[in-house]
């Protein structure tokens, strides 16, 4: 009964909430009314937009030494999570069977373990920094903590079910993914999708004024 609910109805509901929520949020951001810039453009905004999407991967020179730990932990977590999501053998199989109808080469087990370790260590460090640093603590909301904890739980349940021997563990992982998908559009997890338009918008604004960013 619970297995059917998790594999069936709840899974479908979470997918719908995720898809509709993310689309609605993205469209509302893209089509939001903004004040018209009446100034004469010094340069085209497009190169600035494209450039900024990539240059922001590197921290600003003046900041780098002060935020070393956050940079290292951030990259560890995001790259590790990306590898786990799209190159873990069970995920490649799942995406092939449930959504795409095609697959790609999954990473070997040892690479999976190392990616998971990178992701866990990075996430732990980032969340602890959020809790322990007075400035980060002040600007963090309950939603940010929920997002971090939910991400951790999804990763943990996935790794605990790695042996693929117990359906209970797989169901636990799937259930946590469903909660994650439902929470996603209403939280700061949306930065997964918004970081590109956000950077592009800033870059376009700078580019139009001839500022290198």
């Amino acid at each position: 009964m619970i297995a059917n609910l998790i594999d069936g109805l709840l899974w479908n509901i979470s997918l719908v909430v995720f898809a509709v929520g993310v689309s609605w949020k993205m469209l509302s951001i893209i089509f939001a009314k903004r004040p018209v810039d009446l100034s004469v453009a010094r340069a085209s905004s497009i190169p600035g937009a494209i450039k900024t999407v990539f240059t922001r991967f590197k921290p600003a020179a003046g900041m780098a030494s002060r935020i070393q730990m956050k940079i290292v932990a951030g990259y560890m977590f995001h790259l590790g999570l990306f590898a786990l999501m799209f190159f873990a053998a069970p995920h490649v199989r799942f995406l092939d069977n449930e959504f795409l109808g095609f697959s790609w080469t999954a990473m070997p087990h040892s690479a999976f373990i190392i990616s998971a370790q990178f992701a866990f260590l990075g996430l732990l460090m980032l969340w602890l920094y959020r809790v322990l640093d007075p400035v980060s603590k002040l600007i963090s909301t309950t939603g940010d903590h929920v997002a971090s904890i939910l991400t951790f739980v999804v990763m943990l349940t996935g790794c605990l079910a790695l042996l693929e021997s117990f359906s209970e563990l797989r169901l636990l992982h799937r259930f946590s993914v469903e909660l994650f998908l439902i929470y996603f559009p209403f939280s700061s997890l949306m930065h997964t999708f918004t970081f590109i338009p956000s950077r592009a918008f800033t870059g376009a604004w700078f580019g139009r004024r001839g500022i290198s960013s």
């Binding site: 373990i113 866990f120 602890l128 605990l160 790695l162 117990f166 563990l169």
Partner: protein, 368 residues
Amino acid sequence: MIKFVVSRQLRLLPGLLSVFLVLLFISLPQPGIADEHQKVEGISNKNPGADLWRNVRQRDQELLGSLKSNSQGSSQVKSVDSKMLINQQGDLWARFRMEQLIKYGMMSLGGILILILVFYLLRGRVNIDGGLSGNMVHRFNSYERVLHWVLALVFLFLAITGLTLLFGRTLLIPVMGHELFSVIASSSKEGHNLFGPIFLVSVVLMLIRFVKKNIYAKGDLTWLLKGGGMIGKSHVTGGFFNMGEKSWYWLVILIGLLISISGLILVSPNFGQGRVIMELSHVVHAAGALILIAVSFGHMYLGTVGTEGTNESMRTGYVDISWAEAHHDRWAKECHEKQLIVSAEQYAKLQGRNPINSEDSLSLEKNQ
């Protein structure tokens, strides 16, 4: 007429039912009779191979007894231990694990917890003489605190999953049954293996970060002889880290490295290590972890309810100057000399709180 026939048949029903039950009972197998029958005519179905294996085992034991080490035979299989028919040390290891490690491990951890409880009931919380001043001094930066908590959280996770695997058969199976325990044991094993290397990385980072401040210095022995102030009434002197903290640090580093290396040997059995190395690694891993867990109970106690003002250091990075003077007087003196002390109001601002109505101001008012 019909009514009469039916009622007559109904009267016969109990009798017919009784006959049926008697017949049923007779037709069932009678255990007492069968057992007796088996006892009389039991046959001895002896396994013809049993004697051969018994002889092989006996021969190996004799060879071991005459100090010729584990006997080596010949085999076409080219792999580790393939020439060894019976590993006698495997029995020793299994017996040690089941009869000593689990039993004494549980007793040690339970004993330490009881000792701490008794100590707390007798001594209570160790308060700072004259109370906290409200004036603070910076002790640990964000990176150091993050590092401490990463290590602590990973250690706790490893301790819980490791103890589940070690004591689960004895403690958890009787409570939750085999089926649920198998799920928990499987997930504990996966989680334990996954987080183990993160613990190693944290230990190495901890070693690099704090090694300079943890080298033993003059005065540390006095601290030890006076039991960190628990024995006698005179004040014990300490630097940035006192003797107790330094010893805990080195215990974490050395035993942490030992259990990490032995854990890596256990989790990667495909690097040519034989059974004996695996068994030894297991013993070192379990014994080291039990020691570290037992001592960590003391560390957690002293860092939370045991001593006033200690947990601030790893929460906010600041400690009260009165706390520093009580536990780390040489370092506190340095802080005074370098004028590193911040007032309660400044501290509240640094923590992003309103100095008026902040907890620090209130506690300061109380102390005054």
